[in-house]
Symmetry: C2
Subunit: 380 residues, 2 copies
């Protein structure tokens, strides 16, 4: 897909591309910007997304411009768009599972060249000098990572996300997509994939370990595949009876349907680790009974801030368990996850949709109808 196709909406796309890169050829990349871009934005917490035309900054020395081909839809996009977490700076273009092709490279950027297949996840910058950044934990940057949308960028502008035609990103926050991974499958690795991979690594999931995965959605289905590839035995806990066959197909050895009411006694103290990917508040105390002595339950599916999780005074005490949480992963670790997926042939289960279908897709995600990740196709 050449520079001439930057943009989404037919004639408007072409105009946008021309504005962005007058005279640039496909092989040589496009000009240094600034770039006229089109995206789908939330304008309030209640309205459907609508078109937003905006500008991406001109290439800085270490920036690359990425023509976006695909962007995954994460439940976090919905939490942001519907203001479940905070007041948002509308209009806001969500999307933090970006996949595309490099179309321009800054003067001192050295890691990528025009034509490279790349992805971008939840972060586009961090302070680079704190103790967290120094060890590759940019997501925990002590001075605050710059998130892909809704953050204040270095130049004071608001970052806008991947439901758009092009982005300009510091190359240090760009992930290389190996040839073995279809670009349409790359986006969901950048958030869903790394968000589950990082805690599975942190809590030493591997051969001989028994892992529970709560929620079989965008994150959960990746967690099953990744934990299985790591050598673990996976038990899925889902509220959707019609996902059982899929869970087994993804590699689960066991499935517990409706864990709120199911008889869990057979599974008591059987799991070395539980990863909870459900994006809304739900009951936790029963689930803790599945943990072995001293084992950890890690929540990665952040719910509404107005609905804190509840933990009974004895539910962790009974076997000295821990309830933890984890946030995406660092840049190096994200590259590691992408390479791991390439090596093990792991891909997300996706449904491609067009830009104007995003709002409908959000509704289906909330209704647990996604199977398992919607990916916006900028060309559709």
């Amino acid at each position: 897909m050449g520079a001439g196709a930057v943009g989404l909406f037919g004639a408007r796309s072409a105009r946008a591309a021309q504005a962005a890169a007058p005279g640039a050829g496909a092989g040589a990349g496009i000009g240094p910007g600034p770039y006229a871009v089109e995206g789908m934005a939330a304008y309030s917490a209640t309205q459907p997304l609508r078109l937003l035309k905006f500008e991406r900054r001109a290439l800085g020395p270490k920036d690359v411009a990425i023509q976006l081909h695909y962007c995954g839809i994460c439940h976090s996009d919905i939490h942001h768009g519907r203001e479940h977490w905070r007041q948002e700076p509308f209009p806001l273009v969500p999307g933090h599972e970006l996949a595309g092709v490099v179309v321009a490279v800054g003067s001192s950027a050295s890691r990528f060249k025009v034509g490279d297949r790349v992805g971008v996840g939840c972060m586009v910058n961090s302070c680079r000098h704190c103790s967290m950044c120094n060890v590759g934990l940019e997501q925990y940057c002590e001075n605050g990572a710059t998130f892909t949308y809704g953050s204040k960028d270095r130049d004071g502008t608001l970052t806008q996300g991947g439901y758009s035609t092009l982005n300009v990103v510091d190359e240090d926050f760009v992930i290389r997509v190996p040839d073995a991974i279809d670009l349409a499958d790359a986006g969901p690795l950048m958030c869903a994939g790394i968000t589950v991979y990082s805690p599975l690594r942190r809590w030493s999931v591997g051969p001989g370990k028994r892992v529970g995965v709560v929620g079989l959605g965008g994150l959960g289905h990746m967690a099953v595949k990744i934990a299985k590839a790591m050598g673990a035995e996976v038990t899925v806990l889902t509220t959707s009876p019609d996902k059982v066959a899929d869970a087994l197909r993804f590699g689960a050895r066991d499935v517990i349907v409706n864990p709120d009411s199911a008889d869990l006694s057979r599974h008591k103290r059987s799991l070395d680790f539980i990863l909870d990917t459900a994006p809304y508040k739900h009951k936790l105390d029963r689930l803790f009974t599945l943990l072995k002595q001293d084992a950890t339950f890690c929540m990665v599916g952040a719910g509404k801030v107005s609905e804190p999780y509840e933990i009974g005074p004895f539910s962790l005490l009974a076997a000295r368990n821990s309830y933890a949480s984890s946030q995406i992963g660092g840049i190096r670790e994200t590259q590691e996850l992408v390479d791991f997926c390439a090596l093990h042939g792991i891909r997300p289960e996706t449904s491609r949709i067009a830009m104007n279908e995003i709002s409908a897709a959000w509704d289906r995600v909330v209704d647990k109808k996604a199977r398992y990740r919607y990916v916006v196709d900028m060309k559709a």
Copy 2:
């Protein structure tokens, strides 16, 4: 104190002792029982404690009979007595911080002899063969530890606790009190001491570590002394401004008063571990901001079951923290804690009261007036 003084209430005591040990001399111990005992029992969740006369079983081969001199008052006694945790089998004699002297020894008991100074904590038995018992974690016995009161004992009777004149306990669940520790100080080590020592060890508190202790009560003040002796720097968080001087005297380096409203920014991400000893639900999210990256917050102060703790979806995620809980400690570890206190000259701060003052003491504990552990003196 010889066998003739077994019991508490003057003439009644003498009668009880005679019933328990007809003709037994002080040096030779008393007879094999069964033993007539007097205790202070809760008869309902709302009434003051009242005298209960009951019988302890005859010595089994591995049992020892312990004439109780002292028993600490733990907030858990109040939670049980007031049915904050479950329906209780009234009449119930609370007390799981027992200290006394061995007055009779079963035929094959070998670890103790008459006259030995001993303590008993929260457990008096466990299954002895599960994976937890096998590694000295009897408190997490997979078949259910037998707790010192309110549990079904091996013989089907209800266990009754340490607010009483004598107990019969399997010697494997009896702790030796070193000479360096006054018997009046030994009781609070058996629950308060081990409950804080075990997680401090589990989460590797030691030199160079900065530890927060939430709540400066029976458990909290022991946590400060023990963590200090382990080499850590201790920060106390308390709702009682008048405890600041004590906190520093016990070894704290810093005190934060009213953590719910205090400016915590100075302490942000400063602590390697937090031990929360407050026995009722309180706000946690602000406290998590004090934890360093990947650090653990351990709750040992179990509140009412009707009031689960609340954790916001981002409060642990921000620095990949864990919220854990821990329950007393195993028998070997309890002996280790007692020996540690002897070695380091650590003693609880106690106020001695008589048996008939227990109900009043409970009220003062709830009102945060205890400084810092009430100890029932069976002779008073």
